[in-house]
């Protein structure tokens, strides 16, 4: 296997005006060390061979490209294919990246691994990779998320990781990321920071993208087999920071004949409500976690809390490459609300027998608009980024609340 090489970022880690390295000076040499080590590993057949073996034998790649016949018929439009990242070991796309980064950490001789997590999917995937490779693992998670995601906290502990609750700021993913960066600044000499999304200072957004690109590369050959062409008419994925979306977008984004690339942002209670996580639709250009990107902030540059029913999209920024795709028109970003995502969650469960993650349910929900609009001769590929087991309890609670509200108003 090879890891892809894309035209962006440039030598300064920029995607157009986005990206860069806005970090304390202490980290600059570590980021250079990481960049060089990664570029070196990318050319090393032994590293690539080991990565490929683990992805195949342990993660279960390639994941299936499944033709969702029932959903296609239900929506009465374009043919819908689901890229089944939910079938990966640990139940989401996150593991593609953590296996790559933890292998790299081992290669660099770093024995101590740190990571941030929101809902816990990236934390679990990091803890899993560390258990596999015998490395120490510390996961930072906001106190609020520790409370909401007790099952994943237990999974991480079971896998041998230490979970450190973060009590600063909004006590969610944003603050867990701050705390992971503070740990890295402090222990930079022996610690490897496994970042989970296409955010952060250069080279993280590029490295995470490259490790996730296996998803889109597989789609190309799988689609060629069943449809006789490697490029669909549209690719749809949900976006928070944007790692699963970049995995299916990047392999197409730099082609001359690229499909429509559609990122679905979490609009929470609606973009106008102010309670959302839609950084393109409702944000502006700023700097967070070391990178210039679209984010949610007030007129004083204070980061404003994101809101989404899905913890994995509950992040106030969208990665620099997505920000660039949006500004330059390479990809479109559309908002989908909590309520619409719940409809998507039910829709896929009922008609395909697949319970998607709440994150992924945002992408599913948008198909109700897109599939009929494109029409029957067209093909859509959706990145089914994760399975919904982790969300079942939360959805049950929300649906019961809605029932109760309905009962009161009737």
């Amino acid at each position: 296997m090879t890891l892809p090489t894309y035209p962006l970022p440039n030598a300064r880690g920029r995607y157009g005006r986005f990206g860069g390295r806005y970090v304390p000076e202490t980290l600059i040499p570590a980021l250079e060390e990481l960049r060089i080590a990664y570029e070196d590993a990318k050319k090393d057949p032994a590293f690539l061979g080991e990565l490929q073996t683990i992805l195949r034998e342990y993660v279960g790649r390639p994941s299936r490209l499944y033709f969702a016949k029932n959903l296609t018929e239900r929506l009465g439009g374009a043919k819908i294919y689901l890229k089944r990242e939910d079938l990966n070991h640990t139940g989401a796309h996150k593991i593609n990246n953590t296996i790559g980064q933890v292998l790299l950490a081992k290669r660099m001789g770093k024995r101590r691994i740190i990571a941030e997590t929101g809902a816990g999917q990236h934390g679990v995937a990091t803890a899993t990779a560390c258990a596999l490779m015998g490395l120490e693992c510390i996961v930072y998670q906001g106190e609020e998320d520790v409370r909401r995601q007790s099952l994943n906290v237990f999974r991480m502990k079971l896998l041998g990781a230490e979970v450190r609750p973060v009590s600063s700021g909004t006590r969610t993913l944003k603050d867990a990321t701050n705390e992971a960066i503070r740990d890295w600044v402090t222990n930079v000499r022996d610690t490897f920071y496994v970042l989970g999304s296409v955010v952060g200072p250069h080279p993280y957004p590029a490295m995470v993208r490259d490790f996730q690109s296996v998803v889109g590369e597989e789609v190309k050959s799988q689609l060629l087999e069943v449809e006789g062409r490697s490029t669909p008419d549209a690719v749809v994925a949900c976006v928070g920071g944007g790692s699963n979306a970049i995995g299916v977008f990047a392999p197409y984004a730099y082609l001359k004949d690229r499909p429509r690339l559609i990122g679905v942002e979490a609009a929470g209670h609606g973009v106008e409500s102010g309670l959302h996580a839609a950084s393109v639709a409702g944000g502006k250009v700023g700097v967070l976690h070391g990178s210039m990107m679209y984010l949610l902030s007030d007129e004083n540059g204070q980061i404003t809390p994101a809101h989404s029913i899905s913890a994995g999209l509950d992040y106030p920024g969208i990665g620099p490459e997505h920000s660039h795709y949006s500004e330059s028109g390479v990809a479109e970003y559309v908002p989908v609300t909590d309520a619409e995502a719940l409809e998507g969650f039910k829709l896929l469960s009922e008609c395909e027998g697949i319970i998607p993650a709440l994150e992924t349910a945002h992408a599913i929900a948008y198909l109700r608009t897109l599939a009929p609009e494109l029409g029957k001769d067209k093909v859509i590929v959706v990145n089914l980024s994760g399975r919904g087991d982790k969300d079942v309890q939360e959805v049950m609670r929300v649906l019961e609340d809605m029932e109760a509200t309905r009962a009161v108003t009737h």
Partner: protein, 258 residues
């Protein structure tokens, strides 16, 4: 007149390192900030006014919490500048603003620089903006006559030391440890070497910060550097509602070179 250079010159003429204090604007309240800052400036040569920020990833718990309190109290960029203006009317010592980059970007670099100058700020200290990313801010500040201080760390390589020393126009801020702001036990042994490596490439003043909280830590830094930066220890005292007088006097005496 360059008040920042004067701060270091005055200290040197008294055979001591310059005492640089840090206080976040609006903490614990805007009125208390002013009171503490006035007291502090009776001892300190230069005051860093911190712009409270929602995501201060270079700061330890003390300054994080202080920032949260100040923001909850309604502190804004223009509110911070208003505090600076009031201070400027009462002191002729050097005043700098220490801020993360996003507030500057949000207000707009040009507007931020001019607002700073207009209220009598002498320079900016930029903890998450390496010179590599300041290619628009550097010329703006130079033209306006506002000084910029970038940071160096124990991990900085020779080429980083050269770059930061060249682009810093106020003083050079050397971080004593790999880590965030806050008190620690003692000053790492590598500090003298870091300062010597910086001094080998520049004549600009070099101040050391992070982990300096009293006489002993100030002394070990004053022996090798031109300036001693104290933040969290002052913030803790201010947060308790105590006068800064005792701690400020102690640190000032720790700044003597002989």
């Amino acid at each position: 007149m360059n008040r920042i250079q004067s701060a270091f010159d005055t200290a040197a003429s008294q055979s001591r390192a310059a005492f640089i204090g840090y206080l976040p604007a609006g903490y614990p309240t805007p009125a208390a900030f002013l009171e503490h800052a006035i007291t502090l400036l009776e001892y300190a040569d230069l005051l860093e006014i911190g712009m409270p920020y929602s995501d201060p990833l270079g700061d330890g718990p003390v300054i994080q919490k202080a920032g949260e309190v100040a923001l909850a109290g309604g502190m804004t960029v223009m509110g911070m500048f208003a505090q600076a203006r009031e201070l400027r009317q009462r002191t002729d010592k050097a005043l700098m603003v220490m801020t993360y980059y996003n507030p500057i970007l949000s207000i707009g670099e040009e507007r931020f620089v001019h607002a700073a100058l207009e209220v009598g700020i002498d320079g900016l200290i930029l903890p998450d903006l390496p010179p590599d990313e300041a290619d628009t801010l550097i010329p703006l500040a130079r033209e306006a006559g506002l000084k910029l201080t970038f940071l160096l760390a124990p991990t900085s390589t020779t080429d980083r030391i050269e770059l930061v020393s060249r682009e810093s126009t106020g003083f050079i801020y050397a971080v004593s440890v790999t880590g965030v702001t806050g008190s620690r036990v003692g000053i790492p042994e590598e500090v003298p070497l870091l300062v010597a490596n910086i001094k080998a490439v520049t004549d600009k003043p070099v101040a050391v910060g992070f982990g300096i909280s009293g006489f002993d830590t100030a002394q070990s830094v004053a022996k090798v550097a031109d300036g001693v930066v104290v933040g969290s220890a002052l913030v803790v005292t201010a947060g308790r509602g105590d006068s800064l007088e005792g701690l400020a006097a102690e640190i000032l005496s720790g700044c003597r070179k002989t």
